[in-house]
């Protein structure tokens, strides 16, 4: 009979070990998603109404404009939005920090109207936040119930999410929604290489989706977790401390490759323009605490009590919450974490330290989940004690099943109302999320510059006009000569010397017929940028305006915006994606073969390689799989055949030991496979798992993954 060994309730190892059958009830991905969706629908109804409307706040209108101009550039002009003529009189597109073009959610914007896509993006961001937090909490060993609670807290109860949603900062909503996914992959990646790639993908998604704040915060959080876990794992085997570093480095490398399409052009942009932010920002602790409402008190209590159990994940979460709380207080001292962060190249351009509260909340949610899990397990452990058995797993099945259910129900009844109260509290905070502002109405026609208004930026792309009046996070150079009243947007500096006629206009390419009696200058009613190239003459800056010096004569001038760093970046990212696709395909193939092997072999409830739920079926976040026991591996010809079929069959014969072999007796688990990435089937002789192991603090803990015991009820 399998089961977690009896353990002193105050001690938990860092690896997940608190398994309970009720977790199975939470393991259905689509059901969870339906539940999270229903909560979002119930608590933030504004997201589901007025499909094409923007929010009232002006920043939402600017972001709406970026999305609309990107979509327009792709759909009408069939170009990548490298240059954005619809904002500021022309500015960089993809290279801009606020541009989100390369986000995987681009499909939403291409398939639906921009307004609808932005609503859906907010919903997707929240669902990602919930599901990612659920997986993160589960990877810390928290129960399904506790992890669901953590997910709801992070998704709905974050006091910063309402602000971001209400202001239209969907890049934050999505970015911070993806952050738990990166952390989950990082933690899983400590033992399972495949997750490092996936984590890199999520991190790159955060970055390319205008991850101005979410990306650096993710980096910071991974750094914190890497160091914390390395310290906590230092006694868990040879070079165990290095595993978190390996996971972080590989994840970071994959991120760097995939994000190049945005990374390279952005770096070039930041070299050209930088942000100056002089105020020293600091907030008293009381102000940060004020972010939490009375409804958050149960959360703070649960998360505060968790470290008392000496659960190591709870300690990590408490440290994380504490650290980022202090970071949120800003630059209050030359040695304050925020001050030190501001010395770093990437971080020095950031402001508003209180945004780190989102990380405080994430760690509080996960920390509270650990304590809820301990409470949940208490009933079954108490029953075990009553029956005088060492392990919950040794209880008679009906009693075991009932006691676990009783624990889950008891905790749900005790804590559920508090969490519900938090959700109700959130409703008032989300009241500002109302998409009630009038959407733009479309009008065709040639592109021209409008004097514009950055507060209604969403209006202009719809009428194929640029808004010269604008704002950007990082100030770009804007020419004084930009005008909103020109009869034609391309014109000669001296009308007596030349005539100019627009032949073709697209955001990144303009064709002009120029007839010049003498060498002269042609002006374009857009800002100059060094990446503009001309087929005739030379591109110059005329008081910041884009201009071409053309020779005398009649010319067909072709003006193109060529962002080489972006092109190089895209090439690198595509190669990375292709490589990742190959890895994913190989992985899927292996999974499919294993599934087929399951069907090929006779039904055998207890035998064989661990089969899998395939492919398209979304599945439970991976617990570190229990390695098959020696008896499992060497249980008979059927199994060897199945294993062979499953592409994990290069069984290193001499290494296979029977249950009674010396290796098995020493507790070595032998698993065989063709390559390292075969999940739990990787070729490895795992280190001996003694019934108990020493924690760094000298506590005795049970093995992280207790050996499975066959049983016949």
């Amino acid at each position: 009979m399998s089961g977690a060994r009896w353990q002193p309730p105050l001690v938990s190892p860092i690896e997940p070990n608190g398994h309970r059958w009720t977790d199975w009830l939470f393991s259905f991905f689509w059901l969870r998603l339906a539940f999270f969706l229903s909560v979002v629908h119930e608590r933030i109804p504004g997201l589901f109404a007025n499909g094409r409307h923007p929010l009232e706040y002006m920043d939402d209108h600017a972001f709406f404009s970026f999305d609309a101009s990107n979509t327009l550039t792709v759909q009408r002009y069939h170009q990548l939005p490298a240059w954005n003529p619809y904002w500021c009189g022309g500015t960089v597109g993809i290279a801009g920090p606020e541009d989100n073009f390369f986000g995987a959610d681009i499909l939403l914007r291409l398939l639906f109207d921009v307004g609808i896509a932005r609503h859906m993006l907010a919903i997707v961001g929240l669902l990602l936040a919930a599901e990612g937090t659920y997986r993160l909490a589960r990877s810390m060993g928290s129960s399904g119930l506790a992890s669901t609670g953590a997910a709801l807290i992070y998704m709905i109860n974050s006091t910063v999410y309402p602000l971001w949603l209400g202001n239209g900062f969907l890049n934050f909503v999505l970015g911070f929604g993806l952050l738990p996914w990166v952390l989950w992959c990082f933690i899983q990646g400590i033992e399972r290489p495949g997750y490092r790639y996936l984590g890199g993908f999520f991190f790159a998604w955060i970055f390319v989706h205008a991850g101005t704040y979410p990306a650096p915060y993710t980096l910071l959080t991974i750094g914190f977790l890497t160091i914390s876990l390395a310290i906590l794992m230092r006694n868990e085997g040879e070079r165990a401390w290095a595993k978190p570093f390996v996971s972080a480095i590989v994840l970071g490398a994959v991120f760097l490759v995939l994000a190049q399409a945005k990374f390279l052009p952005l770096v070039m942009f930041l070299k050209q323009f930088s942000r100056t932010w002089l105020p020293i920002e600091q907030l008293p602790a009381g102000t940060i605490l004020g972010v939490f409402s009375a409804a958050h008190v149960p959360l703070l209590i649960l998360a505060g009590l968790a470290p008392l159990t000496r659960d190591r994940w709870a300690v990590v979460c408490a440290l994380g919450a504490g650290l980022f709380f202090v970071v949120s207080m800003g630059d209050f001292d030359p040695l304050s974490p925020y001050h030190l962060l501001k010395q770093l190249p990437l971080f020095k351009q950031l402001r508003t330290p209180e945004r780190h509260v989102i990380l405080v909340l994430l760690f509080l949610a996960c920390g509270a989940a650990r304590f809820v899990t301990v409470l949940e397990d208490t009933v079954a452990r108490f029953v075990s004690w009553l029956f005088g058995v060492d392990s919950v797993g040794e209880l008679p099945a009906p009693i075991r099943v009932t006691s676990v259910l009783a624990g889950t129900l008891a905790v749900a009844l005790a804590i559920g109302p508090r969490y519900t109260q938090m959700l109700k509290d959130a409703t008032t905070q989300f009241a500002s999320v109302a998409f009630t502002f009038e959407p733009p109405r479309h009008m065709g026609g040639e592109f021209r510059q409008h004097r514009g208004n950055r507060r209604d930026g969403h209006i202009f792309p719809a009428i194929n006009a640029g808004s010269i009046a604008c704002i950007t996070g990082i100030p770009v150079t804007q020419s004084r000569l930009l005008r909103g009243d020109l009869a034609q947007e391309e014109y000669p500096l001296d009308p007596a010397l030349a005539t100019v006629r627009r032949v073709r206009w697209t955001p990144n390419e303009i064709e002009l017929d120029v007839q010049a009696r003498r060498a002269t200058r042609v002006l374009i009613n857009q800002n100059h940028h060094k990446y503009w190239r001309s087929s005739v003459g030379a591109v110059v800056s005329h008081q910041g305006l884009l201009a071409i010096d053309v020779p005398a004569g009649r010319h067909r001038v072709r003006l193109r915006y060529v962002d080489r760093p972006m092109q190089i970046g895209i090439a690198i990212s595509l190669l990375g994606l292709a490589w990742l696709s190959v890895v994913a395909a190989a992985y899927a193939r292996r999974r499919w073969r294993k599934l087929r092997a399951t069907f090929a072999s006779p039904a055998s409830p207890s035998g064989g390689k661990p089969p899998l739920v395939a492919v398209a079926v979304a599945e439970e976040p991976k617990e570190p799989e229990e390695p098959p026991s020696p008896t499992d591996v060497a249980s008979g010809p059927d199994q060897v055949s199945a294993v062979d079929d499953a592409d994990v069959a290069v069984i290193d014969e001499p290494r296979i030991e029977s249950a009674g072999s010396p290796a098995a007796e020493q507790g070595e688990t032998i698993v065989a496979s063709r390559d390292e990435e075969a999940d739990s089937e990787s070729i490895a002789v795992e280190p001996p798992r003694s019934p108990s192991a020493e924690t760094p603090s000298g506590e005795t803990t049970p093995p992280a993954t207790p050996p499975r015991e066959d049983h016949d009820e």
């Binding site: 009979m1 399998s2 689509w30 229903s38 589901f48 099943v401 109405r441 069907f599 409830p605």
Partner: protein, 178 residues
């Protein structure tokens, strides 16, 4: 053949045994099934879960996705442009110009932003936006139409209340650093 040995019964028992084994082991978590029957049942359960999600998504996201688009700006006719007569357009422009002139005067008289030119121009946008919404309501037109009228008035150099056209220039971006 006894009933217990009947293939259907044997098969059913095997499935039940598989299920029970699965549930029983599940103190050890949401374990993956280890038999064909287990896999099939789990797949079936996942399909049911997917159907539940689909229904939920259809109910909540359906109306959002089907939100009708606003009609485009009406085409120009001999009497109207942007769906308005010239008289209405000139009235709207005059009111916009009036509020702009008033805001420029206020900025100078109150020395707003200590003379920071871009910030003052940005304030102008704030006023323009508020007036634009008000005019859109009053004339039963869209905000888009109001901005089109502003554009037309600036291009055509329609005179404002002071007899002067509005400037077509903007103050270049110069963010405040404090």
């Amino acid at each position: 053949m006894t009933l217990a040995a009947h293939p259907v019964v044997v098969r059913s028992r095997a499935i039940l045994a598989s299920l029970w084994a699965h549930a029983d082991r599940s103190w050890g978590a949401a374990e993956k099934p280890r038999s064909r029957a287990g896999v099939v049942l789990l797949l079936a359960a996942q399909v049911v879960a997917l159907v539940v999600f689909y229904r939920q998504a259809k109910q909540t996201l359906g109306p959002l996705i089907r939100t009708p688009a606003l009609p485009p700006i009406p085409a120009t006719t001999s009497m109207t442009r942007f769906g308005m007569t010239e008289t209405v357009r000139r009235e709207i422009f005059r009111e916009l110009a009036e509020s702009e002139i008033a805001e420029r005067q206020r900025a100078i008289s109150q020395n707003t932003w200590n003379g920071h030119a871009w910030s003052r121009f940005d304030d102008l946008g704030y006023v323009q936006r508020a007036r634009g919404r008000e005019l859109a309501l009053r004339y039963s037109v869209s905000l888009t139409q109001v901005y089109l009228v502003l554009d037309e008035g600036i291009r055509e150099r329609w005179p404002g209340p002071d007899g002067q056209p509005l400037s077509a220039l903007v103050e270049p971006l110069q963010l405040r650093t404090e």
